[in-house]
Symmetry: C2
Subunit: 343 residues, 2 copies
DNA sequence: AATCGAACCTGAATCGATTCACTTCAGATT
DNA sequence: AATCTGAAGTGAATCGATTCAGGTTCGATT
């Protein structure tokens, strides 16, 4: 009952192993009759290619690895999905690992992918792993950074301009009459967080009126952390309440929203405006529909995978940075004070 | 700059390949000195094990495959996460594929996993793939069904009792005074959908008062389909409106909720109660916090992976069915008519 | 009839880690 | 001194798909 090998198939079909291999990989160079007999034998024996042997010989495989920062975040779910769609149309599978903002796991998955000799790696990096990626490249495994601009241009990247996004978000808050703005986000090791904050500050500085940006640090970009941050803000004396919050992503924003609603003293958007980042599917279904900076998530995944495949087939390509611009999606949570706004 | 092989390491360390292999796999049988020299050589050359060669020889790998029904659904995200956590503590990686309720992709991923000779397969099946799984098993690759009871007991499974869940949900609706209940769900190829409906019918039949269960079929279990179903319900003459909806999962429920709120003629929960299934993180953050049947999602993943590993190490184990009971989580969306209820 | 070329096929060599029958050798035992 | 023991180490054989230099066949051309 041991699995049939290509040799068994060859014997059963009465041809050589080379011919069987040709049937599988170069159907053009095989006579119709051999073709048929080999297929027949494959059917009879229930033969399935042994990927390990193929990989050993070929030195490369048809999977790519994707190291994701936060698998729980629907935003990354959408990115992965985009990459997967693109991959499957090339007959490639996506091996996927979740780092959860943990340096050890990040390394673990990169090691694993290297041992597996994946075709290439997509990664939304948490720590600074350029040296690690250089090494992968020297072994013929290219990498593309996802959702993160490659500042030094050593790798291709597909990202959204978080600085611009942060600026647009806060400009929008200022336009709708907010002046005391809290930025909720963290940890600051995550580049997107610092970029979005930087953009927020630019907007504040460019404003003709004085605008305060205050930082409310969170330990992670999750709903629970958002709720905790909300509780901290509420517990202050009333005169220290901000009149708007820009959350570093939608999960945080939804947690904040939940905390504010449960408490009930600050109304969204009447007393306090709230805007998130990512525009995940649940933002529009929130208690107060959430304004957000939309990222073209599926497109990011597709594009990253396409670039990766190009680089695998031509390693001499120069790294290129693809940057999308986020798009402001206005919903009720940032309606001007005292109005009910659009739903 | 070709990657170093075990032979290069052996040469560099001045020992044989067998010794290097022993250092890697049986550290006890090697002298301290060889040990050190080999490690030194590995360091110097940047040697990384070639997984393909190892797998070819060993006939098995240290990855498991997980075929997921709907990667976009946070519920499955949580399940995968649970499995991944458990796996990583055993030094095992999870290769993950999304079928999106598509028979072809389901088959594609199973083929891929078979070629890759994964250690085992976790699958939340869409179509009837028992024969396919039998074949995998005959090749030494066990499978565990996730979120689906194995009716014939031929495979181990980890699931939640959807019939009981459906019953509990509808009993709750009846208790809060609802009598004209719509069940929103589909396609009916998905076992969970039919089970939840069956449970709903049991609750209706057991009720002392006459209770109507009406079926509103959807094409998929998504937010968009939920919104569409909502629109269809609203468009009816007012006297044919149900006074409660039991949605087959939370995504549907959130879509329904969105449609009802935008329309504004039916208030939740005053005119119509709404309950979902899964209790995903966003249910509590919804416009009207959503009642739901909670599934222990992370636990399902962990348990499935643990059982799978047990079966890989002892293939003679008899399949066992693990069933969790869902838990009713009451929020505002099912408050009794005319009350405001708990938040 | 001889020659040629295209189409098709063959089978040994190869990839790199693991395994295991076999060797080596220092020290213990007789 | 001869023999034995066990720890440590060796290296050829193995896994299965792919590749490619070389073979065979056969109809077309001269």
């Amino acid at each position: 009952m041991a699995a049939a090998s290509i040799r068994d198939v060859a014997q059963h079909a009465g041809v050589s192993v080379g011919t069987v291999s040709n049937v599988l990989n170069r159907p053009g160079e095989v006579s119709a009759e051999s073709m048929q007999r080999v297929h027949r034998a494959i059917e009879d024996l229930g033969y399935v290619r042994n990927d390990a042997a193929r990989k050993l010989r070929a030195g490369t495989s048809s999977t790519v690895g994707f190291v994701v920062l936060d698998g729980q975040n629907p935003f990354f779910g959408d990115v992965v999905r985009g990459a997967e769609d693109e991959a499957s149309s090339h007959g490639i599978a996506v091996l996927y690992g979740n780092t959860d903002e943990d340096v050890a796991r990040e390394r673990l998955y990169l090691d694993l992918f290297e041992e597996q000799q994946v075709r290439g790696v997509l990664i939304s990096p948490y720590s600074d792993i350029n040296p690690r990626l250089e090494r992968l490249r020297s072994r013929g495994i290219p990498a593309v950074l996802v959702d993160r601009f490659s500042g030094d241009g050593r790798f291709s990247s597909v990202s959204v301009d978080s600085v611009v996004g942060g600026r647009m978000a806060v400009e929008h808050l200022i336009e709708t009459g907010r002046r005391r703005i809290a930025f909720a986000g963290g940890p600051f090791e995550i580049r997107q967080v610092t970029d979005r904050l930087a953009g927020a500050r630019v907007a504040a500085e460019n404003s003709t009126e004085p605008v305060d940006i205050e930082v409310v640090a969170t330990a992670a970009l999750t709903v629970a952390e958002g709720a905790a941050a909300g509780a901290r803000i509420i517990s202050r004396p009333r005169r220290e309440w901000p009149d708007a919050i820009f959350a570093a992503n939608d999960l945080l924003a939804l947690g904040l929203l939940q905390a504010l609603i449960v408490d009930g003293r600050m109304l969204v958007p009447e007393d306090i405006a709230l805007i998130g980042f990512d525009d995940i599917a649940f933002a529009s279904a929130a208690a107060v529909p959430l304004s957000s900076m939309r990222q073209p998530s599926g497109m990011i995944g597709r594009t990253a995978l396409r670039i990766l495949l190009e680089e695998t087939s031509d390693p001499s390509l120069i790294p290129r940075q693809t940057v999308f611009l986020p798009q402001l999606v206005v919903r009720r949570s940032t309606a001007a004070k005292g109005t009910s706004g659009e739903t």
